[in-house]
């Protein structure tokens, strides 16, 4: 019994070490979205191209990505070529032009290419507040019923797409 007691500090140390080790591997910036598995908040916002008002029903009928971007956002520029690649592969992407100048946004798409099926303009960021956007770029997977199934904060690159977003996208696309 007294012998065993000698090992108590060692055991405490090992338990702490394991807990802290797993804590190290977690990214504190990654917030779980409060909206996953909830319907996309309703909106009525102008489209970037035609200016006509669009609402959330535009995102029903098939699984889509909703990408939050702005011309002021440096990381969005990094992400842009890969979004074009995804669009070329036939992935439908809707853009949310967040707190931006619509003219600058149109010029950007003309210059760098346009991966979006549709871009809606959230000039004052009010819809971003409804979505819980806290930084661009953000990318959501929205299923055919308009329910948010995944959210990624930060740049979507081939690794993020393959490991996190594509599985969710395929999973919801495969459902009848």
């Amino acid at each position: 019994m007294d012998r065993l007691k000698l090992f108590v500090p060692l055991i405490i140390f090992l338990v702490l070490a394991v807990v802290l080790y797993f804590g190290l591997g977690r990214d504190p910036r990654e917030l779980p979205s409060a909206l996953v598995d909830r319907p996309l908040p309703s909106f009525s916002l102008p489209s970037l191209r035609e200016g006509a008002a669009v609402d959330e029903s535009a995102l029903r009928g098939k699984v889509r990505l909703l990408n939050v971007w702005g011309t002021w956002c440096v990381a969005c520029r990094d992400e842009h070529p890969f979004l074009i690649e995804l669009a070329d592969r036939g992935i439908p992407i809707v853009g949310l032009n967040y707190k931006d100048d619509p003219r600058a946004a149109r010029a950007w798409l003309q210059r760098l290419g346009d991966p979006y099926e549709l871009v809606v303009v959230d000039a004052d960021g009010r819809y971003g507040l409804e979505l819980g956007v806290y930084g661009a770029p953000e990318t959501y997977v929205v299923d055919a019923d308009g329910v948010i199934r995944y959210r990624h904060v930060g740049v979507v690159d081939p690794a993020v797409w393959r490991e996190h977003i594509e599985p969710v996208y395929r999973n919801w696309t495969a459902r009848p």
Binding site: L31, A34, G125, G128, L129, G132, V133, Y134, G135
Partner: protein
């Protein structure tokens, strides 16, 4: 000296720079309390009052808008939690995922107190309990030692 004082004042004013007109002192107080208690989602370890991130500015404006709509403090916090998650609370709610968080300090204190009492009691018992034989042996040893001197 005056410069240092100026600098201190400037940094105490922190990030919350907007000029606001409040309808009443109580509205101002509630606004202050809310932005102290709510956390900026972008900047991790700052509250809305201390952060100058664009999202913190937006959320401060949102808090004020909701206040003016006549929502209660609880409703405003819930409104933001529904969109940004529990992360935005600096004071965690009492719910299953936080039971441990709230209970752990008290529990640890009780455990520590228990162990302390247990050790104390055991020491006391060991100090008192000497059998007759042990006592005789001890006397012999002490006598022998005195004899040596």
């Amino acid at each position: 000296m005056a410069l240092v004082a100026l600098w201190l004042i400037a940094s105490a004013a922190a990030a919350e720079v907007e000029v606001r007109d409040f309808a009443s002192a109580s509205e101002r107080e509630r606004y202050r309390a809310l932005i102290e208690e709510l956390r900026c989602p972008q900047c991790q370890n700052q509250n809305l009052a201390a952060s100058d991130a664009p999202i913190a500015q937006d959320l401060r404006a949102e808090v004020l808008r909701l206040l003016r709509e006549g929502r209660s403090d609880g409703e405003i916090v819930d409104h933001l939690v529904a969109r940004y998650g529990d992360f935005v609370r600096y004071r965690p709610a009492w719910q299953p995922s936080t039971y441990l968080l709230w209970i752990a300090p008290g529990l640890l204190l009780v455990i520590a107190g228990g162990v302390w009492l247990w050790v104390l009691r055991r020491q006391r018992r060991q100090g008192v309990e000497l059998g007759a034989e042990q006592r005789a042996a001890l006397d012999r040893l002490l006598d022998a030692e005195r004899g040596d001197r």
